[in-house]
Each structure stands twice: as structure tokens, then as C-alpha cells.
Amino acid sequence: MTKATTPVLELKSVSRLFEGIRAVDNVSLKLYAGEIVGLIGPNGAGKTTLVNLISGFLSVSSGDVIFDGASITHKKPHVIAQSGIARTFQIVQPFAKMTVLENVMAGAIYAGHRGMVQARDKAIECLEFTKLAHLKDMPASELALANRKRLELAKSLAMNPRVLMLDEVNAGLNSSEIDEAIRMIRSIAATGITIVVIEHLMRVVTALAERTVVLHHGAVASEGPTDEVMRDPKVIEAYLGNKFAQRFAETSGAPVARPA
């Protein structure tokens, strides 16, 4: 996948203050079409806040968010969603009493800009892709966790996104489910959709992301190709604290962050 010269999504010195605390501190980022970018960082590093800022759920205190050449900084969430930025929630938020099919249709109708009938076709397509088609008439609330995560994925996919932000889409899944998810995410990216993977699981990030951004205390601690970032002592320190960084250095010789 060749990288286009102009980024799809660009953050310019984005900050967000919560009662004086900088939850996101001067973050600048460029995302290009079709790439998978990992966004990692310890708990409370500001990953979800950053996603909320991009998707418009929180307003930016300072800085600028550029999507497709135009500023979306103070746009409302639904406008951002319609323009092609989709996200999943860390804690899944399905329309609990609607069926699986209806949930995915919701994505296809409004952000996907489709009529009801086309939306249904698109939704079935997305459900087939995420292997949920056989559950399409089940109420979303009755799905098992792994399927709920997939439902979020299917819903986002139905939105025809150009940027897809997956907030801990693999948390709580078992090993084979994760493998399945990785395969799906890869094939989504292959269609040209830019994917941001927010993860705790290093294994997923190393398997998926070409490039990784590390947040620490709301600021970018490190950024670059994933394997390089993983070796960055600053990252290991941010993640595991000083002691662990030293111990890692002692035991393995080379400081590499292994899947946790």
C-alpha cells in the first residue's frame, strides 16, 4: 500500500483540558489512507479521550483536527460520523433492543447515506463479513461478548468510513477470537480504510500496525514503525515503570516489549 502524500486525518497540536488537567496534551498526528496505526499507552494516558475528540464527543480545547483537507474541529459527532470517521466504543454500545441487523443498518443509513432497502443489503453484507449473518434477527442485547464486539465492527463498517477507530475491540476475547478479529481488521484495511487500533494487547498491535503512536500523560511519547517503537526505552518505562524496564534489560538483553 503506497502512502498518499496528503494525510486523510491530521491532528494539529490538539489539547483537551479537564478542570485544569491536560488529558490530551499538544498531540499532532498524521494518518494516511489504508494504513493501520496502533495507538497505545498505559491506563489514563488519554487514548479514549483522543478518540472522543476526533469523533466530536468532546470538544477540543485548542488545536485543530483536519479531515480530508477540511477542519472538523468543532463539528458535531453526527456530522463527523457522516463525513466518514467511524469509531467503536470501549464499552460496547449497541441499540440493545433492536436486532443485530437493525443495529448494522443504523450505521448504513445515516453515515452510509443509504435508503432503507440499500441499507439492509449493505448491512447483510457487513454481517456476512463479520460472520454474524446467522444471528441477524437476534436482539443485540442477547449477544455474547465476542459477537457484540463484532457487531460494533459491522456497524462501523456499514458506515462507509474512511477512518475507523477501534477502541479496545479485542478486550475480553479469547485467543482464537482475537486471531479472527485480526484477520478481519486486516481485510478491512485492504479496502483502503485507515484504521486506528487502540489496544492494551501488544500482540494485536504488533500483528496489525505498521506504525504505532504511544501516548503517555496525554502527550505523544513515541511514534514510528511498530517494532522500533516497541524497543523505545521511553515506551517501556511509560508502560511498566522504571523497575520493569531495568529488569527487562537485564533478562532479555534487548529491551523489547513483548505481548503482555
Binding site: H78, F89, F95, E102, A106, Y110
Partner: protein, 331 residues
Amino acid sequence: MIIDRAFALKIAFGVLLFACGAGLSAVLDNYYLQVGTTLAMLCALCWAWNIVGGYMGYPALCMISFFGIGAYAGGIAQAAGVSESLAWLIAAGVGALFALLLGVPLLRLKGHYFAVGTIASVEVLREVANNWEQLTGGAVGLNLPIHAGSPDEVGRFFYLAMLGLAFLAFLITALVDRTKFGFGLRCIRQNEQAASMVGIDVFKYKVGAFVLTGVLGAATGAIYASMVAFLEPKDAFNLIMTIEIPVMVMLGGMGTIFGPLIGGVSYVILKEFVWAYFINWHSGILGLIVVTVIYFLPVGVLGLTWRDIFKKLGASKSTRPATSDIARSTS
């Protein structure tokens, strides 16, 4: 718009029902026409409320504000010499405007605050109608020109007018049930944040639904005003009705096409029955009906399945809400 067989059947059934209703006007005597008019009026109000209360899931307790605003707007227009049909249109327009003015601030609120804000609107409007004498005639009331014609003609005219409006409300509900707009309202009912995430302009949709409800409510009020030809604040802004309408819809099934009809009709029958046999206890028994509806039919007649009934029986054994339920209700 997805039109499947079940939906087509429903619509066909509805159209048939209304056609029968219209046909009945030829044979019914005046009293039953009046009863039919009242039923049609209540059903129109139920359908109107169902958009905001059922599909969108907002506890709007201002149905009678819309009704009263429409009654007074139509009444004042007619008293000023405007023709009846034009007055009804004006009333619908005023209803839309009022719903917009009320909805924009109130729809930012959720839950009880929304409910309380809407119910307060009834109180405030009644006092405004009571005190703004130059416009509304105040407590002395407002006289409207009396619709000319023999009693039979007049009775049939208002029956058909109210039935026509109920039919309109029914069609709008059918549309809401099947279109992007209504689908969006259902998403909003489930989860507003997720709704905006999939690209729904939540606020615009909410205001839109509120205005739709307002227009229908106000039109109903205007026809009512022309029919009784005399308006009083306490009659136009009847606080009990503002809660009765949601109860009727709950009884029939919220967020369904036929729920308002079933609820409206069965509530009226129940009420008549109670009222005829238990005059002195009627309000208490109505209360009992309300309580029963909530315990046994929280999803309405239309939402009831056997599975639900068994679940209910099983669940009622434990009075203690599970921790998970509590957590859900707070999240």
C-alpha cells in the same frame, strides 16, 4: 422505506378499518357519532404522542399543551372571522411553532427533568389562557362561531373531520415506523450517544419528532374547539388527560403502529365500564387500571408474547432488583 408483507397487511388493515369507520357515519345516530368522534380524537392524540413517547422514548407530558394551544389558536382565529378549515391549518402551524419553541430548550433535558418541564408547560399555559383576557377571553371563555347545519350534518361533519385527522396520524405513524426518520428515533430511544455515532443528527431528529407531535396535537385541538364552539382554560388544558394519553399508549404498546388505537379504544371502554358501574370509585379504579397496566403490560398489548408472560411470572417472585439491574439503570 422497507415494505414487507406484514407491513403491507397492517396498512391495508388500517385503511380498511378507517374506511369502515367512515362508512359507519352513514348509519350511526348522532350520539354514537359523538362517541366515535371522541374515540377518533383520543386515538389521534395517542398516535401523535406515540411519535415522541413511543418511538423516541421521551416521557413527554405536554400532549395537552399542544391540544390546548391548537384549540385556542383555532378558536381565536375563528372568532376573528377566519374560516373553519383555514383556522385548523393555522392551529397546526401554531402548534408546530410552539412545539419548536418548547422543544428546543426542553429536548436538551433527559428523564424526569424533561417530564417535569413538559408537565409544567400545561400549568403555565392554563394560567396564561386564564389571564390573557384580551386574547383568550380568560376564565369567562371564548365563543366560536357555531358550525351551521342540521344536527345530523354537523355530527357527521365533525366525526369525519376527526376520523380524517386520526387517519392522517395513522399514516404518519406508519411512515415513521418504516422510514429513516422513524428508524433514527428508535435508535435515539435506545442510546443517544450511539445514535449520534452512527451519524444521526440527534437533536434535529428529536425536535422534528416533537414538532410532528405538536402539529397533530394542535390540529386535534382545533377541530375539538370548532366542535364544542366554546373554550375554557380548564377544559382546553386538562391536566389529567396529559397523563391519560401516555397510559393509553402504554396499554396498547408504545412505538407500534396499532398500539395507540388498541390502547385508546380499550382504555375508553374500560373507563366507560368503570364509570357506569362504580361511579363513586371510578377514579380509584382507573388508578388500579393504570397500576395493572404497568405491572402486567409494560410493553402494551401489542408487545406481549407468551415468553414475556412467563418471564414476568418468574421475575415477580423476587422483589429485589438484581445488582446488575441497578447498575444498568444508573449507567
